[in-house]
Amino acid sequence: MAETRYIRAVNDALREEMERDGSVFVAGEDVALAGGSFSATRGLLDKFGADRVVDTPIAETGIIGLAIGAALTGLRPVVEIMFMDFITCAMDQVVNQAAKIRYMFGGKPKLPLVIRTQCGAGLNAGPQHSQCLEAWFAHVPGLKVVMPSTVTDVKGLLKASIRDDNPILFIENKTLYGLKGEVPDEDFTLPIGKGDIKKEGGDVTVIATSRMVHQALKAASKLSEEGIDIEVIDPRTISPLDKSLILDSVKKTGRAVVAFEEVKFAGFGAEVSAMIAEEAFSDLKAPVQRIGAPFCPVPFSKPLEKAYLPGEEEIVEAVKKVVK
């Protein structure tokens, strides 16, 4: 096991998959010469050349279209959308084209493409560079939506995503890029669609995604001082969702809190709470609680953004509410 950082694990995953498979290439805005706006693709141009590491114009529709056409004709593109907010410029290509091609063409084509992007508030990047929009894409049949929280997960899941034959939206979180963690020395992948128990516990199930996994783990330490033992579940993949992992945990604890960074209204938490209500209602000892962002754009200023971002304290409060 070697220690590395989240962003480095992304870079390593890309490099290893490009070495392993000549049909993998990387394209996007500033990914080649500049090495990516967050350095995710640093060094790839030198190693693989401009044919395989392609700087594109600022053209999100064009970038995703490039990936779709290349994937349909035998390549395995990994394209970068610099900030998740910018994917709105390419919604047709993601939602009407990539997601539906296999189904509407009668099941013949494979579409092995990965759209890497990053989400998240916390860097005072303002309303157009900070959103988490995973629920939009989870709502579209045909796409897979992956949201890794740890260094090991980001590497194993990115490698698995590149090897997958479906279109995948791979959402990193910009506040996690500096996170340290260990990764196996050998080649490894993690299964898409399988969640992970980040901490076992018997009193309350906290289902948390991306950055909120770390907030939940901090909340767990605080709550253990008060004698409350929470179980932290990280679905890792938003779609397909590891329903059984979540439901089994809720059946064990009888209590659930869903913690995610995107806007609470009509977000990922609504899906998970509804699923628990539909399939584990009789096991519940208290109503499911959701922790998400308030219903407003992500603000720029420090105090406003701090007030916006859900975190550890909100999880602690929600857990106390369900154990009352």
Binding site: P57, L66, N96, Q97, Y103, K108, G142
Partner: protein
């Protein structure tokens, strides 16, 4: 001038006739309530499809639009599953999931018709990138209408293809109508080909798209440019939409003289007359060709009508590759 031999000329006429008779049958059956959904026909525009695909190889790629039956046929896809898909049957190219607007046949390099205006252009650029990456000498022809040149996807695609010098031909079928709006409503220039000037490395031509041999010639130049690594071409083919935007469109927006005048531009009548004048085809030959094509279409129609509807148990199949 065209260097086409007799066999090629007859083949071009046969492709145009196949498209025409195929779509006339679709029109009839749609009017009779046999076909669900929306249908957009390319009757009058056959010379563009036939001419543009004439020098493409089976392994070359095309993408097309909601008005794409003609390009499918010209690229060589099988007529039976094409017709069956339009009828929504399980034997169709997409097992009845796509319908007229979403036909694809990867075996013939047909990367898909598209229900979104300009939606197929970006992925056609991706296929051209792939051909260059894999160092094959495949080329791509991406078909779209004049209306699509109002979409951002068109400009992003042209720009990327130009920068990366990709082997692609952007084929604009300019029938002068963007759905229900005439060209002057959605374009402040005379010719779509003028748009290529914005990109530097895109060659452009405007031709009479109702003259099939002119289309063949222009495509030959564009294909040569693409295969030899000299990048994209924007080929504008001026043509004529005989029917409305969709089948059943009463075309109230269209001046009477425009509707009445379309038949005088018929590319098939024009080409048949030319071939007779050249002595390539006589009346008996023309009649035999029509009979042959009618047989092919009739067979496909029967196949489509007799094919089963998809089983509702298949609803959730193929959303993902497992």
């Amino acid at each position: 001038m065209s260097k086409l031999d007799k066999e090629s000329k007859i083949s071009l006429l046969k492709t145009m006739l196949t498209i025409r008779k195929f779509e006339e049958k679709v029109s009839e059956n749609f009017a009779a309530g046999q076909i669900p959904g929306f249908i957009h026909l390319s009757i009058g525009q056959e010379a563009v499809s036939a001419g543009a695909c004439f020098n493409l190889r089976k392994e070359d790629y095309i993408s097309t639009t909601h008005r794409g039956h003609g390009q499918c046929i010209a690229k060589g896809v099988e007529i039976r599953p094409l017709m069956a898909e339009i009828f929504g049957k399980s034997t169709g190219y997409c097992k009845g999931r796509g319908g007229s607007m979403h036909i694809a046949s990867l075996d013939y390099g047909m990367l898909g018709a598209n229900g979104i205006v300009a939606g197929g252009i970006p992925m056609a650029v991706g296929a051209a990138f792939s051909a260059k990456y894999r160092k094959t000498d495949q080329v791509v022809a991406s078909f779209f209408g004049d209306g699509a040149t109002g979409e951002g996807a068109f400009y992003e695609s042209m720009n990327i293809a130009s920068i990366l010098k990709l082997p692609i031909i952007f084929v604009c079928e300019n029938n002068k109508w963007a759905e229900f709006s005439p060209q002057q409503v959605h374009m402040d220039i005379e010719n779509v080909a003028q748009r290529a000037k914005a990109f530097g490395n895109v060659a452009a031509e405007t031709i009479d798209g109702n003259d099939v041999e002119l289309v063949v010639d222009a495509m030959e130049r564009a294909i040569e440019r693409a295969r030899s690594g000299n990048g994209p071409t924007l080929l504008e083919c001026i043509t004529t939409r005989f029917h409305g935007h969709y089948e059943g469109d009463p075309q109230k927006y269209r001046p009477k003289e425009d509707i009445e005048g379309v038949r005088s531009k018929d590319p098939i009548v024009r080409y048949k007359t030319k071939l007779k004048e050249e002595g390539v085809l006589d009346d008996a030959g023309a009649e035999a060709l029509e009979k042959e094509v009618e047989g092919i279409i009739e067979d496909a129609l029967q196949f489509a009508k007799e094919s089963p509807e998809p089983d509702s148990k298949e609803l959730l199949n193929d959303v993902y590759v497992n």
